[in-house]
Symmetry: C2
Subunit: 233 residues, 2 copies
DNA sequence: AAGCCTGATTGACACAGGTCAAGGCACTTC
DNA sequence: GAAGTGCCTTGACCTGTGTCAATCAGGCTT
């Protein structure tokens, strides 16, 4: 991990993070004070940012790269909860958690640059700014809703339906009943996100292809019939 | 559903809800104004408070009874996400959701009295009170964390481990390695919360009993060895 | 070009947990 | 007290998905 201790005001990142909706509404002075406490860090692919259970003093903003948030069972089995990409914050919910430890493990799955934002600085800032508070609230509520939907997918949908949902969520181009999907992640990580094994993912794609519903070309998938792909009509 | 249009200031409920931590910090005047918009409703067992997808204008506080929050698959399969009991609020996250519809269905599973609190009134109140904002934030963050743990349970734990966790969470009395658990819900609802069928729940309890780990006496379970029950050592 | 990774695919097999059907037990209702 | 109803249990059977192992393809390294 490479650490650039402070974020300079003239750094190119300064404006990037400034524009993020959790910061966008802040007064210049307030943001500057906050920025003085934000540090920039670079991680290589495979490096761990933090482990589940580590004390959590900061949250993060991803400038470039991808960070995988995962849970690991005592037997060493891993489940990817979410993958955070460009221009997104993560672990911001622990700003307000009673238990001040990370509930997940974070690993860079490509070379990654993040900004580390201290919780207490941010919290102090919030206590003077109801608008910022409200923005964070709606952010956290959106996350909560996503998690409820995830639970729904895991329980009342089977593996095939979950894959269909995933594909539909990642359509890059659509034309009536046809669509193109670009897989932005290695298949084994997609499998883990869907809580299936890579083998099952491979077999599911195979059987969808055999049914003529789609064609797989490496990381590109051509869906020939969204209607037939869709889990329920 | 029986509706008592307004909450009277001398109603016995007034103090109950006043003490809830989402309201406790409010000034008397502010709370009174809010209370003027809170209505009290009584539901019989089996009645639906709202369906998933219904427009969400209010959130709720449960005074007595139990409310089941569930997801229903297109095939009619139901998954209980959570059961809300006495003195707890629910659906408070939709106060800040972009999409203003309930993400779950709520059904009274016993005779229930709830207070209905309008979102916009509460939101308006929040915009003047950073402390209240912070409290709600930590509340929602706690929920979020619970959901992450639930996802963990569903994915990297099997049915037996999930049952063990549930039992351990519901211990009413413990003595060294032994414990007593009281099941506060009908078994079929517990099964759904654990995302298993009632048949599987029954069989799991049976096999734990056969292994001598516990004894089942109707709604009371005597755990003879917490160590052997516990999913991981 | 040869050798190595890492990731993806395929096949054979196993098993956890679901489905379907039957029956038991405790309550209520008439 | 007969019949009905809701909840739980048990058995027989089935199936989706995981496990294990072998193979393959593509991209790096030397």
């Amino acid at each position: 991990m490479l650490d650039f201790p402070r974020m300079e005001k003239d750094a190119p990142q300064y404006e990037t993070i400034r524009r993020h909706y959790l910061f966008a509404g802040l007064d210049d002075g307030v943001f500057e004070a906050l920025a003085a406490n934000i540090s920039v860090e670079a991680y290589d692919k495979g490096e761990i940012l933090f482990h589940r259970g580590d004390p959590a003093h900061d949250f993060f903003f991803t400038e470039t790269g991808q960070v995988e948030l995962s849970l690991i069972s005592p037997e060493g089995q891993k489940k990817v909860v979410e993958v955070i990409g460009h221009d997104r914050t993560f672990a911001e919910a622990i700003v307000f958690m009673r238990e001040r430890v990370f509930p997940v493990t974070a690993e860079a799955i490509s070379d990654t640059v993040v900004y580390r934002i201290p919780n207490d600085t941010y919290r102090k800032m919030l206590s003077d700014d109801t608008d910022a508070c409200m923005r964070l609230l709606s952010d956290v509520c959106r996350h909560l809703h996503q998690r409820v939907r995830e639970i729904e997918r895991l329980t009342i949908q089977n593996a095939r339906s979950r894959l269909s949902s995933y594909l539909i969520d990642h359509v890059v181009d659509t034309d009536d009943d046809e669509a193109t999907v670009r897989l932005d992640l290695p298949k084994h990580i997609i499998a883990s996100r869907l809580s299936i094994t890579p083998e099952t993912l491979s077999r599911l794609l195979r059987s969808l292809a055999d049914e003529g519903i789609l064609t797989v070309d490496d990381r590109l998938i051509f869906v020939h019939s969204l209607a037939r792909l869709r889990p329920y009509d």
